[in-house]
């Protein structure tokens, strides 16, 4: 593999990584702080893509579609939390898995009713459809560079939010000891709803960003959900920093595995990576619980 190809494949790995991070950040917070397994996280990703494609068709603007779709996904996420998930916090993980799996079926059917069974699509925003030479002889699609940029910006935003704000302090406190935070008089219900909204918004954002590259279809959330779980397990449950590093690791490993290894082995690379990390650090790379 020559250096040009190495750079392009590195960017591909990075791009897959930041997409996974957008998904994993929300999932790991919900899992780590609320101790809630939410399989329906992928449904919010799918919903984000469908909403953005629809809004783009009505408004003709990608930016407007992005803002509107994200807002709606946040609202849907919070509604789901208030209506359904809130009742599950006290239950054990098996109940949560069952209930949120039901939510996947519900959302898939809802999307099929609203948008039909055929794949939906979303055009690339005008100026971002081409490709640029990032180095002489190394061309890369502009839109994928934008994805990398957005992912990095979100990572920075989350870092600031968690490390520098009062909300972030509560999130960190909640991740290490939920009961004490509640006992200290913090409105834990509101915190959970907010947190779930943030997670939903990030999943929606991932879906919106994926929309122009992928075919938007029922079930698109499930394939990325499995990878996302791998990421949060490697990163350490509850840790956004762990999710970021694990997402990039998984993205790069998957990309290079696919081009360097035979297909049978390539599809296992990230699971081998997960097994190796778990052998070495059973808590994941950056566990947030003591």
């Amino acid at each position: 593999m020559d250096s040009t190809l190495l750079i392009v494949q590195g960017l591909n790995g990075l791009q897959l990584g930041v997409m996974l991070f957008l998904m994993a950040a929300g999932l790991t917070l919900v899992f780590g702080i609320m101790n809630m397994i939410n399989l329906a996280h992928g449904s919010l990703y799918m919903l984000g893509a469908y909403l953005a494609a629809t809004f783009q068709r009505f408004t003709g603007s990608f930016a407007a579609a992005l803002a509107m779709a994200m807002a709606v996904t946040v609202i849907v996420g919070m509604l789901v939390e208030v209506i359904a998930l809130r009742r599950l916090y006290g239950r054990d993980h098996l109940d949560q898995v069952l209930a949120t799996f039901a939510l996947i079926l519900f959302f898939n059917e809802l999307v099929r009713i609203l948008w039909g069974p055929q794949a939906y699509f979303m055009a690339l925003p005008g100026g971002l459809s081409g490709h640029v030479a990032i180095l002489p002889g190394v061309v890369y699609p502009v839109y994928r560079l934008v994805i990398i940029g957005v992912g990095m910006a979100v990572a920075l935003f989350l870092y600031m939010l968690i490390m520098r704000t009062r909300l972030g302090m509560l999130i960190r406190a909640g991740a290490s000891n939920r009961e004490i935070v509640g006992a200290l008089g913090v409105n834990i219900k509101l915190l959970y709803t907010l947190l779930f909204g943030i997670g939903a918004g990030l999943a929606g954002l991932a879906g919106i960003m994926a929309g122009p590259i992928l075919s938007i279809e029922v079930g698109m959330g499930e394939s990325i959900l499995i990878l996302t779980f791998v990421v949060i397990v490697i990163g350490g449950i509850g840790s956004v920093r762990g999710a970021f590093i694990a997402a990039i690791l998984v993205g790069v490993a998957d990309t290079f595995g696919r081009v360097l290894l035979p297909p049978v082995l390539a599809s296992m690379v990230i699971y081998i990576l997960m097994a190796a990390v778990l052998c070495w650090r059973p808590q994941g790379l950056f566990p947030s619980h003591g």
């Binding site: 069974p117 794949a119 490709h131 590259i213 992928l214 079930g219 696919r258």
Partner: protein, 391 residues
């Protein structure tokens, strides 16, 4: 003879008499991928099948139809569960549908072993066309390799020297590339198999660009095809290296989602919406009226599946018990296909023409396929010699 015994004998006589008479209705089990990335195929075949039923007077072979739909979710194990429920609980007379070859490989034997006729409206894996051919399996679509062979021949005739091949890593993907290689004799730069349903092809496209082939041939059906063709154009490869494929990647149900990324691409198929015969014209026009969209080749296959079952049931006068008679009726394929000439080979796979089509915008600015050439006339599949069935 005592009275009760006489009654019993009378009842038995009646019973044996009815077994030779027409069934009251015909139960069809429709198994296909109705959810997830392969869903558009399953839906299209079903819509085509229903239109076929409608054209047969909402009946098949003169009998009212009980249509039971099952979703295999593109998972062989789920397909097996759905099939066994239809065999044991619903007691269906026929099973049709079956989009994906991996599902077909899992269910074909158990369905046909139960004495049920299986009419494949899509999947045509090579093992079932060769030594593993089944007396109760009729494939109304094609053998997997055939459509690819047509494009292989076209590329060979065109004088392409260095060809790059890509397909998903499953039976139909391997059959497809084997089909191209059977007729393309130039250099194969690389033969890449990707994980099935992987949504992103960026790493593979970077490798492809670096290999600098003369042309690329891919087989990516359904949602995989949308992703591939869009990403191929987004990477700027469409202008750089010509992309050739089959109708499975550029069928009507995915063209709108691909948009201009698909425009101008060449693909091979046994069927095209502008194929000039009266059955096809009626099918295309009525499909548009009924569903408010253009039919795909999958819908055409579903339509022909309904017509084939109709013809077989009609010939045996609705008597579904005599399997040998029914099989003989199926073999005649006595129906007017949307593709014009159609007949079964000894292995119950079709002998048919294959065409080259190009993606264009029609007079309503809708993306569709247009015939641009003929690749094969009356083309049999490559495996029929290995099948032991003779008739």
């Amino acid at each position: 003879m005592s009275k009760p015994l006489a009654r019993l004998v009378f009842a038995l006589v009646l019973l044996s008499a009815t077994s030779g008479m027409a069934a009251e209705n015909v139960k069809i089990g429709y198994i296909a991928t109705m959810s997830g990335p392969g869903a558009s195929l399953g839906t299209d075949i079903l819509d085509g099948f229903k239109l076929g039923m409608k054209h047969c007077g909402d009946k098949l072979g003169g009998l009212p139809v009980d249509l039971i739909v099952g979703d295999d979710q593109l998972k062989p194990d789920v397909g097996v569960q759905v099939a066994s429920r239809m065999i044991e609980k619903d007691k269906v007379d026929f099973v049709t549908g079956i989009v994906f070859s991996n599902v077909m490989m899992a269910v074909a034997k158990s369905i046909t072993d139960a004495g049920i006729f299986l009419v494949s409206a899509n999947a045509g894996p090579s093992p079932l066309a060769g030594a593993g051919c089944l007396p109760n399996l009729f494939t109304v679509s094609w053998q997997n390799d055939q459509t690819h062979e047509a494009m292989g021949k076209y590329l060979q005739d065109k004088g392409i020297k260095r060809l790059y091949l890509m397909a998903p890593n499953y039976q139909a993907g391997k059959d497809g590339l084997a089909g191209v290689k059977r007729y393309f004799k130039g250099e194969i730069v690389a033969e890449v198999y990707t994980e099935i349903n992987k949504p992103d092809y960026a790493p593979e496209l970077a490798q492809l660009r670096a290999a600098k082939p003369d042309a690329v041939f891919v087989f990516y059906p359904g949602g995989m095809g949308i992703n591939f063709v869009k990403q191929y154009a987004q990477a700027g490869l469409k202008e750089e290296i010509p992309l050739y494929t089959t109708a499975f990647t550029l069928d009507q149900s995915v063209l709108e989602a691909m948009g201009d990324a698909a425009l101008g691409l060449l693909n091979s198929s046994f069927w095209s919406p502008d194929l000039d015969n009266p059955v096809n014209k009626k099918f295309v026009a009525d499909f548009k009226t009924a569903y408010n969209r253009l039919p795909s080749l999958f819908a055409a296959q579903g339509y022909d599946a309904a017509l084939l079952i109709d013809s077989a049931v009609r010939q045996v006068g609705g008597d579904l018990k005599d399997k040998d008679k029914l099989r003989a009726a199926f073999r005649k394929a006595d129906f007017k296909s949307v593709r014009g000439s159609f007949r079964f080979n000894n292995n119950h796979f079709p002998i048919q023409n294959f065409y080259i089509r190009q993606v264009v915008r029609d007079e309503n600015n809708v993306l569709t396929n247009k015939l641009v050439g003929v690749a094969f006339e009356s083309h049999p599949d490559a495996y029929h010699d290995q099948c032991g069935m003779k008739w």
